[in-house]
C-alpha cells in the first residue's frame, strides 16, 4: 500500500513489528502478533470462522511492516501460496479452521515432501463437516498428524492461552525453519476468542532459529537441496539465489530430481519421518503439575487443560494424589516424559478430557497400556473443572 494511505489508516505504533509491552488481547490476535514477532513475511489465507481474526489482524498489521498479505480464493490456494513464498525465502503462514484444514491436506504433504517450511494455524471448531462453526472443538488432533496421504513428520503446538498463542507461534516458525517441515498450531475456538494479558518481549529477546542455508556459492558446483546433515535436515536454497534448485513432490534424489524407485522412496520417506522422530527430545514441550507422586494423571491440552488444571488443584486440596501433564506439543507427543513417569511406578490410571471422542486418549492408551478414562464431548462446549474433578474423585 502507498505510504500516504498507510499513514492514514494505521496507528503510529502499528508500524512496529514487535509490539513490546503488556497487552490485553484475543488469542487469535496474539497468534498473529507472534507471527509478526517471528518475522512473518508472507500471509495467504481464506476467511473461516473462528480463525478469521488472525487474517484480519494481519491484513492491517503485516503490510505496515513490509510483509505481504493475500486473501486467496480458497484454502487450496492459500497453502500452495505460502509454500511457494517460503520456497522464495519467506517466513510464511496461513490461518484456517477444520474445513479449510481438510482442504489443505494434499499440499501439506507437498511441503513435507519438498521440505519447504511453513506454519499453519488451525483454530479448531466443532466438526466434522461444517459442524458448529462458531463453537469450540479439538477434533483435528489426529488429522494434524496423519491427514495428508503417506508418511511424513510434522510438529503441532497446542496453546492454552493467548500468551501461549503468541509464544508458540514464534516456536512454530523456528521449528518449521529448523527442520524444514510444515508446523501446525492447533488452537481452539475458546483460546482463539478469549482475551487475556499477553507479555510481548523486546524485539531482541524474540528467539530466532534461522534456516540452514547452503554452505557453498552457486558457482562452486551443484547444490544438493536434499543432502541431509547428521541431524537429517538438509540446508535449503531459495528461488532467485542462483542455485538452480529443482523441487518436486515426486520421489527424488538428493539433487531434487525425480528418481522413481522403491529404494529411493523408502530412504526419503524414512528420513522425512525420522528428522522429527529422532529430534523429538529437542522439539517436545510440555508443562506439568504435581505429577511426581501422582496415582492419577490427567493429560489435557488447549482450552481443556485450563479446566483440568483447576480440577487437579482442587483434587490435591482434597488430598487426592493426582497430577496434570499438559503437552504443549501434541505432536510429537511427550512420549519420553510419559515413559519416565511410568517408571516411577505410582501411576494407576490416566484421564484424558478432550473435545472430541477420544483422539488423544487412543495415543495415551497405546503408550501406557494403563486404564485410560476419557471425558469426551463431540464439540460446542468445553468440560468444566467440576466434570473433570468428578472423574478424578471416582
Amino acid at each position: 500500500m502507498p505510504p500516504e494511505t498507510a499513514a492514514k489508516t494505521v496507528a503510529p505504533e502499528a508500524a512496529q513489528r514487535v509490539l513490546t509491552g503488556r497487552r490485553f488481547m484475543l488469542g487469535d490476535h496474539a497468534c498473529a502478533e507472534g507471527a509478526l514477532a517471528a518475522g512473518l513475511d508472507f500471509f495467504a489465507g481464506y476467511p473461516i470462522t473462528p480463525s478469521t481474526e488472525v487474517a484480519e489482524h494481519l491484513a492491517s498489521r503485516l503490510p505496515a511492516v513490509g510483509g505481504r498479505f493475500v486473501q486467496m480464493e480458497d484454502e487450496l490456494g492459500s497453502i500452495a501460496a505460502i509454500i511457494g513464498a517460503s520456497a522464495a525465502g519467506a517466513r510464511s503462514f496461513t490461518a484456517t479452521s477444520g474445513p479449510g484444514f481438510s482442504l489443505m491436506m494434499e499440499n501439506i504433504g507437498l511441503a513435507a515432501m519438498m521440505e519447504i517450511p511453513c506454519v499453519i494455524v488451525n483454530v479448531q471448531r466443532a466438526s466434522p463437516s461444517t459442524g458448529l462453526p462458531t463453537m469450540v472443538g479439538q477434533s483435528d488432533i489426529l488429522q494434524a498428524r496423519w491427514g495428508s496421504h503417506g508418511d511424513y513428520g510434522i510438529v503441532a503446538y497446542c496453546p492454552s492461552s493467548p500468551q501461549e498463542c503468541f509464544d508458540q507461534t514464534i516456536d512454530a516458525f523456528n521449528t518449521a525453519d529448523r527442520y524444514r517441515i510444515p508446523v501446525f498450531i492447533l488452537m481452539d475456538e475458546v483460546v482463539g476468542h478469549m482475551a487475556e494479558r499477553v507479555e510481548i518481549p523486546a524485539a531482541n529477546e524474540i528467539p530466532h532459529v534461522p534456516r540452514k542455508r547452503p554452505r557453498t556459492k552457486p558457482e562452486e558446483g551443484i547444490f544438493l537441496s536434499y543432502a541431509p546433515d547428521e541431524d537429517l535436515v538438509p540446508p535449503i536454497a531459495h528461488a532467485g539465489e542462483g542455485y538452480k534448485v529443482h523441487m518436486t513432490g515426486l520421489t527424488h534424489d538428493e539433487r531434487g530430481y525425480p528418481e522413481l524407485t522403491p529404494e529411493t522412496h523408502d530412504k526419503l520417506v524414512n528420513r522425512l519421518v525420522d528428522k522429527v522422530r529422532l529430534n523429538a527430545l529437542d522439539i517436545v514441550d510440555f508443562d506439568e503439575q504435581h505429577v511426581d507422586d501422582a496415582e492419577c494423571v490427567v493429560i489435557a491440552y488447549g482450552c481443556t487443560a485450563r479446566s483440568a488444571s483447576a480440577a487437579v488443584d482442587q483434587a490435591r486440596a482434597e488430598g487426592l494424589r493426582c497430577g496434570l501433564l499438559r503437552p504443549k506439543t501434541i505432536w510429537p507427543f511427550p512420549e519420553e516424559r510419559v515413559r519416565r513417569l511410568l517408571e516411577i511406578g505410582k501411576i494407576k490410571r490416566f484421564i484424558v478430557p478432550e473435545i472430541n471422542l477420544g483422539q488423544l486418549r487412543r495415543e495415551v492408551e497405546r503408550l501406557t497400556q494403563l486404564p485410560t478414562i476419557g471425558l469426551n464431548h463431540a464439540g460446542g462446549a468445553m468440560p468444566t473443572p467440576n466434570a473433570i474433578l468428578e472423574i478424578i474423585r471416582s
Binding site: R22, R23, F24, T49, P50, P133, T134, M135, V190, H193, M194, A195, E196, R197, C303, R306, S307, S309, A310, D313, M382, T384, P385
Partner: protein
C-alpha cells in the same frame, strides 16, 4: 453487595449491538490485567448467537490465575437492553449486583436490589448518549472495586479515540461518583 471482593469476581455485561458492550468488557479486562496487576479473562457472544438480540461480554477478574475462562454465576450483571435483562438478569449469583439502564430496561419490581441507573440520560447531558456504557462502567467499578478508578482511566486513555476521551472520562467519573454516593448512604 460484592464490594471489594478479594479472590475473584465474575461480571456479565448485556446489551444490543452498537451500545459498546464489548468495548466496556475489554476496558475492564485492560484495566485489571494491565493497570491493576490482576488476572483477567474476557469472552463475548460470537457468531449467529451475537447477531440481533442480546449480546454479552463476560469478564472474570481475579488475584490468581484464572483456569476456566467462562462466567457461570456472575456476581455483577449490568444490562442496557430489555432482552439482555430477560436473558441474563436471572443468572445473577445470590446477593449479586444487578445494574439496569433505567430508560431502556423495565426491571421487575420484585428485583428489590436492582440499581436503576439513568446512564443514557447522564451521557446525553455530558454530550453523547453513546457514552452510556462508560457511565455504567463507572458505576460498576465504584460499587464493586472490581478494578481501581485509576486503572480504568488508564485503560480508557490507552484504548478509546482521542476525540472521545474527555467525554468518556466525564462519563466514567459521573457513574463512579453516583456509586460512591449510593454506598455512603
Amino acid at each position: 453487595m460484592p464490594k471489594a471482593m478479594n479472590d475473584s469476581i465474575e461480571i456479565r455485561l448485556g446489551g444490543v449491538g452498537g451500545q459498546g458492550i464489548a468495548l466496556a468488557g475489554t476496558l475492564l479486562g485492560n484495566a485489571a490485567a494491565l493497570y491493576d496487576d490482576k488476572e483477567a479473562v474476557f469472552t463475548q457472544t460470537y457468531g449467529p448467537e451475537a447477531r440481533g438480540g442480546a449480546s454479552r461480554a463476560d469478564i472474570i477478574i481475579s488475584d490468581n490465575p484464572i483456569a476456566y475462562p467462562f462466567v457461570t454465576r456472575p456476581h455483577v450483571v449490568a444490562v442496557l437492553f430489555q432482552e439482555a435483562y430477560e436473558k441474563f438478569g436471572q443468572e445473577l449469583a445470590p446477593g449479586g449486583l444487578l445494574i439496569v439502564e433505567n430508560d431502556l430496561v423495565n426491571a421487575r419490581t420484585d428485583d428489590a436490589d436492582v440499581v436503576r441507573l439513568p446512564a443514557v440520560k447522564i451521557a446525553e447531558e455530558l454530550g453523547n448518549k453513546l457514552a452510556a456504557n462508560i457511565v455504567v462502567l463507572g458505576y460498576l467499578i465504584g460499587a464493586t472495586n472490581a478494578v481501581s478508578l485509576h486503572a480504568m482511566e488508564e485503560a480508557i486513555r490507552a484504548t478509546v479515540n482521542a476525540r472521545h476521551l474527555d467525554l468518556d472520562m466525564q462519563a466514567l467519573n459521573a457513574g463512579f461518583t453516583l456509586a460512591v454516593e449510593a454506598g455512603n448512604d
